[in-house]
Amino acid sequence: MTQTFIEILRRALDEELARDPAVHLLGEDVAAGGAFGVTKGLAEKHGAQRVRNTPISEAAITGMATGAALCGLRPVLEIMFIDFATLSLDCLVNQSAKYRYMSGGQLAVPMVVRTQAGAAGGAAAQHSQSLEAWFAHVPGLVVVAPSSPAEAYGLLKSAIRLGDPVLFIEHKRLYVQKEEIDVNAPLPPIGKARVARAGDDVTVIAYSAMVRNALEAAEELARSGIAVEVIDLRTLAPLDMATIAASVSKTHRVVIAHEAVRSGGLGAEISARIGSELFDELDAPVTRVGCPFSPIPFAPELEQALLPGTPHIVRAVRELVG
């Protein structure tokens, strides 16, 4: 069946709510459907106790989700914009991520924080960021970013069932994307990337909305005889270096593409790991495509001038191949 990203997320939540009584949803406006409509109808279907609205209290609701997870619930918390996750940070970083470790394994925090990121035409500086690198830097947090509706369905379910605190980062521009999905396909595991397109000449590593750009770039480059292999990371932390290594050992050239600011972004970590673990496979330096070092502006001309996309990936690959 063909569903949009939003519909498929809703379906996944619906099925998990039905499957496991420990699953509870909470967040600002979630009972009413959530800011993007993902949770629409779920409160009516599963009851007001299972799908709960909260006031605008990111710190408290993140803490509550964590405390409930310590006591056997499986909360799925919605933080409307990743930009607001800054208010959740103390709990996520100092409590949720560390509880298992600090308690010497006595306690676990099986919770999912659903949020969304990315620029989408005029949302401006405080509603357009991609902050995944911050969370990928915290031991104990798992960070997942699906690249399409089909991916989101399986990854959300896997995240809910994992047993660790997961930051599940959706992308605004993907919300209306439609895709044929197979609900009976096996769930993709957390911690494993996928090869979205095979190729021999250059590896392009991407995640979230950039995977689509990478695939478009690959299509265009194929017409010039350049075979691009696209890797969709799926899990940003911890990183599946094995899949990356297999690809780089074949192509010897890498471009990493993400919407987040390039400086200090996840591409920097991946690049460093490739440089140190796969040095002898490299035929050229690792290249990163990312946003220049600036907040996202409001005016569309300015926003477009900043955001990385398909042409940037194409250009990066062409420069590598020479």
């Binding site: 509870h24 106790q49 709960r52 909260t54 006031p55 209290s57 710190a59 408290a60 609701i61 993140t62 803490g63 509550m64 989700a65 964590t66 405390g67 409930a68 997870a69 310590l70 006591c71 056997g72 619930l73 909360p75 103390d90 709990c91 100092n94 409590q95 509880y99 298992r100 470790y101 600090m102 308690s103 010497g104 394994g105 006595q106 306690l107 676990a108 099986p110 031991p139 104990g140 798992v142 994992l162 047993g163 660790d164 957390i190 911690g191 932390a237 911890p238 990183l239 599946d240 270096m241 094995a242 970590e269 790991r273």
Partner: protein
């Protein structure tokens, strides 16, 4: 000892023992910290024992307790093993958290001690969440969170209280108001003298009591917890008390006058409970014996803890993730 309106003499003697247990324990932490054997920043609850003991007397094993960086007393009062708790403070492998938490992060899940946090106020929403879990699963267990008056300066205190009231969560907020936040006296950081004043605007019942009067703590806590179990919603109990040691071990207490300190020693909860029990006709010698037994129990547990093995560095990466396969690729 569950929710009796008035404690029996036997209950009181048990609580007297519990006070001495905590007092001795904290004394040992202080001694070994001064000697360099306890590392980091241990925070002592010397002088505040009656709050821990009086409240925990009404809690079952399944009730959940959250505390702050000053949490040794609460942890012991909830039933944690003395040796395992001290071993954790010493960073031993046999400690509650296998040496990974230390003084400020004591967890004893089997006894419902779900954690202590070093970030002031961070434990408040966790306790509310635990209460939510109990409510969502139809249990009658409650959640108790201990915090100092300084935590009311954190936004998350207000967010949590608001939410707890809205959702009628069975969480007991116990504020140990010792008049100081870090090194600043209360007058300097809040216009609101009593923390219980914060409750009314949110629609939550609250009470301020003398936290060093164990029978008073016991009575107030009993009422509050009974109310929680009935499903009446959260409750705030403000216990006025006094910190007899500094903010943390090593703190030179420059900020208090000597007269202040002497006055408070007069108000020591152990002394006061002893006077109360003597008034009830319990023999001095019996009380001394109870105190001595508690002290010996702790001293021996401390010695055993000191002899325990240290953690194996090779295990340092255990417990980061649920699955070893995730830890293996975490770089």
């Amino acid at each position: 000892m569950k929710n009796r309106a008035a404690p029996t003499s036997s209950d009181l003697k048990q609580m007297y023992r519990a006070l001495w247990r905590i007092r001795t324990f904290e004394g040992q932490v202080q001694r070994l910290a001064a000697a360099g054997e306890v590392l980091g920043f241990p925070h002592l609850s010397t002088g505040q024992e009656a709050v821990a003991v009086g409240v925990c007397a009404h809690l079952t094993r399944e009730d959940t307790l959250f505390t702050s960086h000053r949490g040794h007393g609460h942890t012991l009062a909830k039933g944690a093993d003395v040796q395992a708790t001290f071993a954790e403070i010493l960073g031993r492998d046999g400690g509650l958290c296998r040496g990974r938490g230390g003084s400020m992060h004591l967890v004893d899940a089997a006894n419902g001690v779900l954690g202590a946090t070093g970030v002031v106020g961070g434990n408040l929403p966790l306790a509310a969440g635990a209460a939510w879990a109990a409510q969502a699963t139809g249990k009658t267990t409650v959640s108790v969170v201990f915090f100092g008056d300084g935590a009311t300066g954190a936004g998350v205190f207000h967010e949590t209280v608001n939410l707890a009231v809205l959702w009628k969560l069975p969480v007991l907020f116990v504020c140990e108001n010792n008049g100081y936040a870090e090194f600043t006296s209360r007058e300097e950081h809040s216009n609101v003298k009593h923390v219980s004043a914060f409750a009314a605007p949110y629609g939550m019942p609250a009470k301020t009591i003398d936290g060093n009067d164990l029978p008073a703590v016991y009575a107030a806590a009993g009422d509050a917890i009974a109310s929680l179990r009935r499903g009446d919603g959260p409750y705030l109990l403000e216990c006025m008390t006094y910190r007899m040691a500094g903010h943390f071990v090593g703190d030179a207490q420059q900020y208090r006058s000597k007269e202040e300190l002497a006055a408070m020693k007069e108000k020591c909860p152990i002394e006061r409970l002893k006077r109360h029990l003597l008034g009830l006709g319990v023999a001095d010698a019996e009380l001394d014996a109870i105190g001595e037994e508690a002290r010996q129990e702790v001293l021996q547990a401390v010695e055993r803890a000191r002899a325990e093995a240290r953690p194996d560095p090779a295990t340092v990466l255990q417990y980061v993730y649920s699955a070893p396969s995730l830890a293996a690729i975490s770089g």
